[in-house]
Structures are given as structure tokens and as C-alpha cells.
């Protein structure tokens, strides 16, 4: 059993949880993910690691309670335990000194998984410019953390309630327009956002890394449900990724596959809502 030691609702429906998992925390690296199961009848859900604390043996998760399983998780409180927690999974981000100027883009709750990458990039001595995107100011997360480890932070909100009015690509364009020499972009967020970023950087020839979170069951290479088309190759996001060269990813197929169980997901959500915690 894995104990929840911290919980906070960052904005409506978006939760921060720290889970006690010392062995995972000891080995976790930026860019990796975990798979958890809330209870004995729960599904295995993959969540990217938003932070880790090796001294206290905890892993930080940021998630949006959108589906049945994340809703179940959001109902658990400090002191409660979840039954399964496995990781760290996937390949860590490639981070080294001398990579130059890195633009780290996080859209929505994608800011959370981009944070440890940005921090490690910064700690390695690279220049980190962060772009944070959200629909509006009240659902922006991790701003203080991002400011603490970035050389510069740009914020874009769809409704203009904070920072630049527009999308993360609007902010990226501003950097390009002012002549910033960008060596790499790392973008994490909804599929459509990552696709837009890649469409913007492709003609500029800027290397762009995206982190994918497709449907998966085991997270260890066994089910193949997370397969994505990267260039001419079929890759498994869980063992080959989750990070890939964004210019080679077939986002259309990725987003289509993300909808495979949409009807069932709606049904599951109804089920959870109807019976509450008693599943």
C-alpha cells in the first residue's frame, strides 16, 4: 500500500498529491512516469512524475479529475493509501550541460511534468525559458516553482486574464521574433498543443521534444496499447518513450487513439458518480 502524505486542490478539479514510495523516489528521473491503481477494482493509470523527494521518499503527482479513475483518486485524502504504485517507467529526459537555450513549454497540467525537466536543464547549466499556458489565470499551476528554476517565464492565457492573450505558440513566436536563439524546445500538454508547437518549430528547424501520454495498460512494454507512429517506425511510448522527436510524431493518429475508449470512459464516469466511493 502507498500512502498519500500531501493533497491540495490547486484549482478546481486539478490536484497535487504526494505519495510515499521511497524506492521509486530514489530512482526517479526527470521525464519518467509511474503507473498506479487506486483500489482492487481500479484500472492502471499512467501519470508523469511532477517531482520527487529522495529524502522524504515521495513522488509528486499532478492530475486532473476528468475520468472515473482520476475522480476516484481525487477522493482519497492524506493518510489514505492506494493499492499499487509502480515505477519509475520510461526513458528519462536527455539532459546535459552545454545544450544551450531550452524553451520548456507546459500547457494546462502539462506544466507539472515539464517542471522537473526544466529544473534539471537549469541545474545542468542551460538557459531555461519557460512558457506556461492555461485557459485562464485561475487554472494556472506551478507558477512559483517554474519561476524559481527558469531564467525567464512567459505566460499565455486563452482569455488574456494573465500574461499574453493567446496560446503557448503565441509566446513562442514572440521569442522567435525578438531573435532569441533557441537550441531545443520541450513541450508537454494536450496533443493538439504539442502538434501546434511542432508545426511552429518545424520550419525553423528547432529540435522539439514532446512527452506523450497515450492509453496504456501495464506501462512495461507488454500490451502495445501505447504504440505511436514516429517517422517510419512504430514505437511503444512506455519503453521507447515517453519522449520523442515531435517533428516525427503522427499526432493525428495519437489523438484518434486517445479516443478509443471514449464511450466506455463516459460509462465508467457515470458509474463512479452514481455509486460514489462504494465501488
Amino acid at each position: 500500500m502507498f500512502k498519500i502524505v500531501y493533497k491540495k486542490e490547486l484549482s478546481p478539479g486539478i490536484f497535487h498529491m504526494d505519495i510515499e514510495a521511497p524506492r521509486v523516489a530514489k530512482k526517479a528521473k526527470a521525464g519518467q512516469f509511474i503507473v498506479l491503481r487506486v483500489d482492487e477494482k481500479g484500472e492502471r493509470i499512467p501519470l508523469t512524475i511532477a517531482d520527487f523527494d529522495r529524502d522524504n521518499g515521495t513522488i509528486t503527482l499532478i492530475f486532473q479529475a476528468v475520468g472515473a479513475s482520476t475522480m476516484e483518486l481525487s477522493k482519497r485524502n492524506v493518510g489514505d493509501s492506494i493499492v499499487d504504485f509502480v515505477g519509475p517507467l520510461g526513458q528519462p529526459s536527455e539532459i546535459s550541460a552545454g545544450m544551450g537555450t531550452i524553451v520548456c513549454i507546459g500547457g494546462g497540467i502539462g506544466v507539472a511534468p515539464v517542471y522537473p525537466i526544466a529544473r534539471a536543464m537549469h541545474e545542468a547549466g542551460n538557459k531555461v525559458i519557460s512558457i506556461m499556458g492555461a485557459r485562464s489565470k485561475d487554472i494556472l499551476i506551478f507558477e512559483d516553482r517554474m519561476r524559481a528554476i527558469s531564467d525567464e517565464v512567459l505566460i499565455a492565457t486563452d482569455d488574456g486574464s494573465y500574461g499574453i492573450k493567446g496560446f503557448v505558440t503565441t509566446a513562442l513566436q514572440q521569442l522567435v521574433d525578438r531573435g532569441e536563439k533557441i537550441d531545443q524546445v520541450t513541450a508537454i500538454g494536450p496533443g493538439i498543443m504539442m502538434k501546434s508547437v511542432c508545426d511552429a518549430t518545424r520550419p525553423l528547424g528547432i529540435k522539439t521534444i514532446v512527452s506523450l501520454n497515450p492509453i496504456m495498460v501495464d506501462g512495461t512494454g507488454m500490451c502495445g496499447g501505447c504504440r505511436v507512429q514516429v517517422g517510419d517506425e512504430m514505437k511503444f511510448a512506455c519503453v521507447d518513450g515517453p519522449e520523442f522527436d515531435g517533428h516525427l510524431v503522427d499526432f493525428g493518429n495519437l489523438m484518434s487513439r486517445g479516443r478509443m475508449f471514449r464511450e466506455e470512459e463516459a460509462k465508467a464516469k457515470d458509474h463512479v458518480c452514481n455509486i460514489g466511493l462504494g465501488r
Binding site: 491503481r37 504504485f85 512495461t220 507488454m222 487513439r257 479516443r259 466506455e264
Partner: protein, 466 residues
């Protein structure tokens, strides 16, 4: 006594009924039938059956005990050689092993050795006897086993009985490997059989740590250098699904057999939404492949409510790698075998969902390297099979996580770990391997045989080190 040429039939659920439920198909012998079947055994002076058993069970001896109605002694004899008799009695391909060598097989049916094994194993499980924990010496040496599938469980059981402290590290949240995620409930009940066999191993003194991925959480070197294990056995199986690399495999409605069966068996998606993992089954399903896994996927599809299920296989019936009994059961349940057909493309609709499977007809040519006649495409014979779900059951490769994080342990070009056939010794000292990770995808019993040999070799190795 006159020879009875036919083996006693095992009662089964009616095909029409069972094709729509997940309860076990074969119901097992009762006591009288078991004794009658045992009495068919001629107690040969020079019994051949035993030579066909990968774990060398003393078959004539346990059958003799059944004749005497001494079922406790019968299962005792089996357990000297096998850690998982209730499993093997159900899923071993006995017709190619022990029963193939039975002298009665020359004239009629072999003695139903598998059914007898199942009978005594179930007899003992149903008694719910206390398992006696092993008393380990204070200075007992420690062995780590990676993977709680058939190879790992067998190796762990044998080593514990020899007095070693064994910890099994399992990546999934449930032990059992393919017994839990792969083989369906209707062929191998999980709570009734698999879980109880594993529970008994734990009661005996084997430690199982689930949710533990060696290669990520800790490496093999860390197990030996920092965590105090004196030897390691790698039994990580064949878990990486193959696809055909034909267009359309990324469409919605296409599963690997691993994903499909894992959702259903391990995650119990057949009980959705009571269990939270979804599965989507269409009206018409094509399962590509001809092995046991393909039969399992096809029969599972029926039980999930598919109206029409096809097996699409590129060779003919004679070459089907599945057990004869599985093919027979599948046909009884109404699976439609599209033999000598090979998929060339999966076609999708405007929403990215499968709408048909394009196949080409095949004919058998000259024998290939495997000795089977090579299937050759008949030019211009393409046709579309109207399906909305496609399940790829064409085999699995080795998972690279352990090998890629263990310097000094060599693999071949396919990624299988190189290990001595008799001992399981790898190229790294103190590290042994066996089962599908070494041989490529094979059977439960062959993996158990490899686990058994490795346990003996690890015992030798550790004695020499002491």
C-alpha cells in the same frame, strides 16, 4: 482385464452455454472416473511417459497411488517435481509430452495423465490444508528471482525447498505472469487455482514483491552488490507483442493479443464498469494467428459478446500451432477458421476505426526452415473480411528492460538472453535465466522445466561458493 482403448471423457460445459460465460470449460474428473482412468494404466516395466515430462514427474508412481485411492500420496509424488500441478494439469500440451509416449497411444488413447494430475491437484487444493512453512537457517543464502511467471515460480519453489531465502520481484501488481494476464479464466481459473498455488508458495516461505520492475527500481548488479542476493534467476518471459507491420495497425479497434487478454484476464474488463478497466469489442472480430494465444483471444471475444469471430491463419489446419484440444473447443463454440489467408492491410472508416481486414489467399509450397510447408500468396486473390475488431496474436518477443541494464549478461540478436541449456547459467557470474526470455515464446511447462534446472544449478553454484 480387457484394454479400454478410449480415455474417460471429462465433463465439459455445453459449448453454446460456455461460449457466453467465463466459467471453466472443462469440469474435471470425479473420484470414480479418476480411479477408472488410472486403472487403464498398464504399469509398464519400462515406462516411457516420464521421458516426455519436462519436469520429470514420476508418472507411473502417482497413477499407481490413484489406483489405490491414496490421493494424498499421489499429489505428494507430483509435488516432488512440480510446483504448480493444478496449473499443469490444465494447460500442458500432454498430447505432445507424457501422453505421446504412453504405450496405449499405439493402440488407442493414451492414459489421460493430464486429467489425472488435475484431479489430484484439485483434490488437495480443495482440502485447504495448512502449508508448513520452511524453517530457514539463520545464515541461509539469498536468491532473487525476476518475474513471477511459471519459470520464476518453479525456480523459487525448488530453491526454497532446498533452504534458500527467495524473493521474487514481479513487475505487475499480481504474481503469476502469463498464468494471470494471459491464459483466460475459462481455461485456468484465477482465484480458484492460480492464486491458491501462488499463496501456497508464499506460505511455504517464498517472498513475492509485486510492483517491482528490476532494471528500473534496481539493477541486477544492485541486487547482488547492495541488496545481499547471492544469485539471481531471470525469468521475465516473452512479453513484447509483435505486430505484422502492415498498414492500419494503429487504427482504433486493433489490439495486440497481450493487450486484449491483459485487459480481460488481469484487469477483469469483462466485469466493466464494476472493474474500472474498459474493453471494446466489436460485432465481428478477426484474430490473426494460429497458436494457443489466438484461440484464447478468439474464445474470449465470443464471451465478451462478439457475434462473429474469425481465426485468420496463413497456413492450413495441420500447421496450427495450438493444442488440438483448444482448436476443437474453439470450433465447438463457433469460431470460424479462415485458414490459408494472410492479412495484408487493415482498412479504417472516416473516424479511424477498423472497418475491414484485407487478406490474400495462400497455398502451401515447399517446406521451409521449420519443416512446415511454406505458405505462398496466390496473386490477385485479395478480399476484404468485414470486421470491426482485429487482434494480433502472432507472437511475442523478449522485454529488453532487464538485459539492457545488466552489463555482462549477453543476449542473442533477437534479444533473448544467452543461457546454458542444462543449467541456465548466463554469461554473467551468479546470474541464471530460463523460460521464454531464453527460448522465445514457448509453453508453461517448458518454462517450468527451465526454472527447475536453474534451481538445481543455482544450488550447486551456491554450495561451491559457501
Amino acid at each position: 482385464m480387457a484394454l479400454i482403448l478410449e480415455k474417460h471423457k471429462m465433463p465439459e460445459q455445453d459449448p453454446k452455454l460456455r461460449a457466453r460465460n467465463f466459467q471453466e470449460v472443462a469440469l474435471g474428473y470425479d473420484e470414480e472416473t479418476a480411479v477408472a482412468e488410472a486403472n487403464r494404466c498398464l504399469t509398464c516395466k519400462n515406462p516411457q511417459c516420464r521421458t516426455g515430462c519436462p519436469v520429470d514427474i514420476n508418472i507411473p508412481a502417482f497413477i499407481s497411488k490413484i489406483k489405490e485411492r491414496d490421493f494424498d500420496s499421489a499429489i505428494g509424488i507430483i509435488k516432488e517435481s512440480s510446483s504448480l500441478p493444478a496449473v499443469c494439469g490444465r494447460v500442458c500440451p500432454q498430447e505432445n509430452q507424457c501422453e505421446k509416449h504412453c504405450v496405449l497411444a499405439h493402440k488407442g488413447d493414451a492414459v489421460a495423465i493430464g486429467r489425472l494430475e488435475r484431479f489430484v491437484a484439485d483434490y488437495q487444493l480443495d482440502k485447504n490444508e495448512e502449508v508448513k512453512p520452511i524453517e530457514f537457517a539463520p545464515d541461509a543464502q539469498k536468491v532473487a528471482v525476476i518475474g513471477a511467471g511459471p519459470a520464476g515460480l518453479t525456480c523459487a519453489g525448488d530453491l526454497a525447498r532446498k533452504g534458500y531465502r527467495v524473493t521474487i520481484f514481479e513487475a505487475l501488481h499480481v504474481a503469476g505472469g502469463v498464468l494471470s494476464y494471459g491464459i483466460p479464466e475459462f481455461r485456468l481459473p484465477k482465484d480458484k487455482i492460480v492464486k491458491r498455488e501462488i499463496d501456497n508458495l508464499q506460505k511455504m516461505g517464498v517472498t513475492i514483491e509485486v510492483n517491482s520492475i528490476v532494471g528500473r527500481l534496481f539493477t541486477v548488479d544492485e541486487l547482488m552488490d547492495e541488496m545481499g542476493f547471492d544469485a539471481v534467476f531471470v525469468g521475465t518471459g516473452a512479453g513484447l507483442p509483435h505486430f505484422m507491420n502492415i498498414p492500419g495497425e494503429s487504427l482504433n479497434g486493433v489490439y495486440s493479443s497481450n493487450e486484449f487478454l491483459t485487459r480481460c484476464n488481469l484487469m477483469k474488463a469483462y466485469d466493466f464498469p464494476n472493474h474500472a478497466t474498459p474493453i471494446k469489442i466489436g460485432r465481428k472480430v478477426a484474430v490473426v494467428g494460429g497458436g494457443n494465444v489466438a484461440m484464447d483471444a478468439a474464445r474470449t471475444s465470443l464471451r465478451l459478446g462478439a457475434e462473429k469471430v474469425y481465426i485468420v491463419y496463413r497456413r492450413s489446419e495441420a500447421e496450427l500451432p495450438a493444442r488440438a484440444e483448444e482448436v476443437h473447443h474453439a470450433k465447438e463454440e463457433g469460431i470460424d477458421f479462415k485458414l490459408l489467408n494472410n492479412p495484408v492491410e487493415i482498412l479504417g472508416d472516416e473516424n479511424g476505426w477498423v472497418k475491414s481486414l484485407k487478406c490474400i489467399r495462400m497455398e502451401l509450397g515447399e517446406p521451409d526452415a521449420s519443416g512446415r510447408r511454406r505458405p505462398v500468396a496466390i496473386e490477385g486473390s485479395e478480399f476484404e473480411l468485414d470486421v470491426d475488431t482485429v487482434i494480433m496474436a502472432i507472437g511475442n518477443g523478449p522485454n529488453p528492460i532487464v538485459a539492457s541494464t545488466t552489463p555482462g549478461m549477453d543476449t542473442n540478436k533477437r534479444g533473448n538472453i544467452i543461457a546454458d541449456e542444462e543449467t541456465g547459467a548466463t554469461t554473467k557470474e551468479g546470474v541464471f535465466a530460463g523460460g521464454d526470455i531464453v527460448t522465445g515464446a514457448a509453453t508453461v511447462i517448458l518454462a517450468m522445466g527451465a526454472g527447475k534446472k536453474a534451481a538445481a544449478a543455482i544450488d550447486e553454484y551456491l554450495k561451491s561458493k559457501k
